[in-house]
Subunit: 253 residues, 3 copies
């Protein structure tokens, strides 16, 4: 049984405080378009990002990290090898890792690789409904999460999080989030950062999605378009506090 | 015979409306420095960008796109293969593709590759006068455009567009556009997006250049330097309307 | 003997004027995360960046550049080859080049490569104290700089520059500089740009660090967080003038 909906905002604020205090190192194997914005979002949140995919180095970086993101938005031989190496190390050292199988519905080889990775115990998976169908055409998200022991975030107009029990719904965010490239990819990084400071995967996942979406809402206030929105998003994520999370959170169980 | 100069602003506004309505998918094979800004400019304009260069995937992405950009700013083996694959698919499916032969005047192997690509029926080529000389040392731009059946944009203090007939001149833009990296590369993406919604190549090209340069002019109002300029550029591109295009367009035939 | 502390601000302003007038071409072999911001920082300062790492082209680009940056933040086979080629050309043509051995304290193969490069006469090396220890566990920074004939910048809360004589300390900057990815990498680019217009390596290095840190201070005024800070940083670097450098510089010998 998880927390009642009324407790999520304070839980999210607690975890954000802890993230800022502990400053976890998050290693990201992510796509070329998203690297810079993901690093800046992690820095804004209070984490310390690293992004190398070099085969000679990824093992050393993964071993010294508190959490790992594997985002499949650029799918090349080098990143494939880097992902396999880093996942093996994360699992051996019992560090949480997040799978973000970007656009696997549009690329069969990417979907195959995502299925392989999904079988290697990610702490969390972030994807939309088309990507989920490409990952597993037969199960419900609840059955999938339960059988794999993972937490699933199904992103969309309403975000949905489940560890196999009743899904939790998050109704925050802003339309301009879809007009800035790498927003979703950066969210994957924040999920890894919260998993690095909180062993309860459901709590970490719901908190990450709440924090990210509420920073988006705040950024939307006074934004003139996608350019100023993305700048204000980093500011909002850096300045986010308990009062704003409490005032804005829309969580339902 | 093309439209009189007085009709271009409304044509550009019509095509921008159509772009926002249809949201064409634009696949970009572009340089590492430009990927993020190009994706954000396409999103700001209303298109849906994808950027993969992975040999396993580029064919699938190109096949599902409505337009293609090939920018030679990063010239490596992977991008070369990706460009060849994507161009073959675009041509087979009769989708428009844009060639932006960045800095071929500084690199003979890049110029050789650009000449090969230019022989494969790009709908449009965007380049400056040094790059044009490296592409074809002997023809005029009009002769080149006519013999190849392409539309050429020669960028500079005044932009010049021709399909072989009398060039059309565009005198919009802002000096800070030259102080932000990847501005020109992003323009190539917008040309592909307009070609994806308008079969008249000349109309698409002139509209893309007008829209891009006018967004730059608007961004320049109140910008404090290249940082705020690039932010305001994305906002301006996202918010651009018919009234602003009419008020600012400086087109002459 | 170098200039007294009171003369550094005017020296820095002189060199910034010269940079803007000469617009040196700076070739950067740098990490994927930093490429875009480094290019924009160089453009903001008044230099002309190029970033290719392609083995077919790096020689031509290095040969036509006035200065070179080698940043090891992405350490892959392609960049290793590119660095070796570009350094050989810079040395043959007597162009200054800067080594920024990012995070070599976390990766032994990267540290090995940095030691190889450090033996090939960089005009300047920029690193923090952990990176210096990984580069040379036994010497003092003064002894290292003197024996290698290079200028060393040890970055930290206080920046420290030495060519082997008494270090010069710079106490400018802003805490938000540590919250934006690629800030340090971009500083390496600016060092190369100032070395390209000033043969006195110590003068170029101190000026680059002063200019960069003072632009950071100015950006910090009124910034709401790391997003607006990085935008204002590019504006401040572009607008920086002698009066601001004089008013803010904190240099001590």
């Amino acid at each position: 049984m998880h927390a009642p909906a009324s407790e999520w905002p304070d839980l999210a604020a607690d975890l954000l405080d802890r993230l800022r205090e502990r400053q976890p190192r998050i290693h990201c194997i992510t796509n070329a378009v998203a690297q810079n914005f993901t690093a800046n979002a992690l820095l804004a949140a209070g984490a310390i990002p690293s992004m190398t995919i070099s085969p000679d180095e990824v093992a050393a970086f993964a071993a010294r990290s508190d959490g790992l993101l594997v985002n499949l938005g650029t799918f090349d031989a080098e990143r494939k090898t880097a992902a396999e190496t880093a996942v093996a190390i994360a699992n051996r050292l019992e560090r949480p890792w997040v799978l973000d199988p970007v656009l696997i519905d549009r690329s069969p080889p990417r979907a195959d690789f995502a299925r392989e990775l999904a079988a290697r115990s990610p702490a969390a998976i972030r994807l939309n409904s088309s990507e989920f169908e490409a990952l597993d055409g037969t199960s419900s998200i609840e059955a999938f999460a339960q059988s794999r022991g993972t937490v699933l975030a199904l992103t969309g107009a309403v975000d949905l999080v489940t560890d196999g029990a009743t899904p939790i719904r998050i109704r925050n965010g802003h339309p301009l989030m879809a007009r800035v490239t790498a927003m979703g990819c950066a969210e994957g990084g924040l999920i890894a950062a919260l998993l690095a400071v909180e062993p309860d995967r459901l709590a970490a996942m719901v908190s990450a999605l709440l924090i990210f979406a509420i920073a988006g809402e705040i950024a939307g206030v006074g934004a003139n378009g996608p350019g100023s929105f993305s700048v204000q998003f980093l500011d909002a994520l850096s300045n986010l506090d308990r009062a704003a999370i409490r005032a804005r959170a829309k969580v339902s169980v």
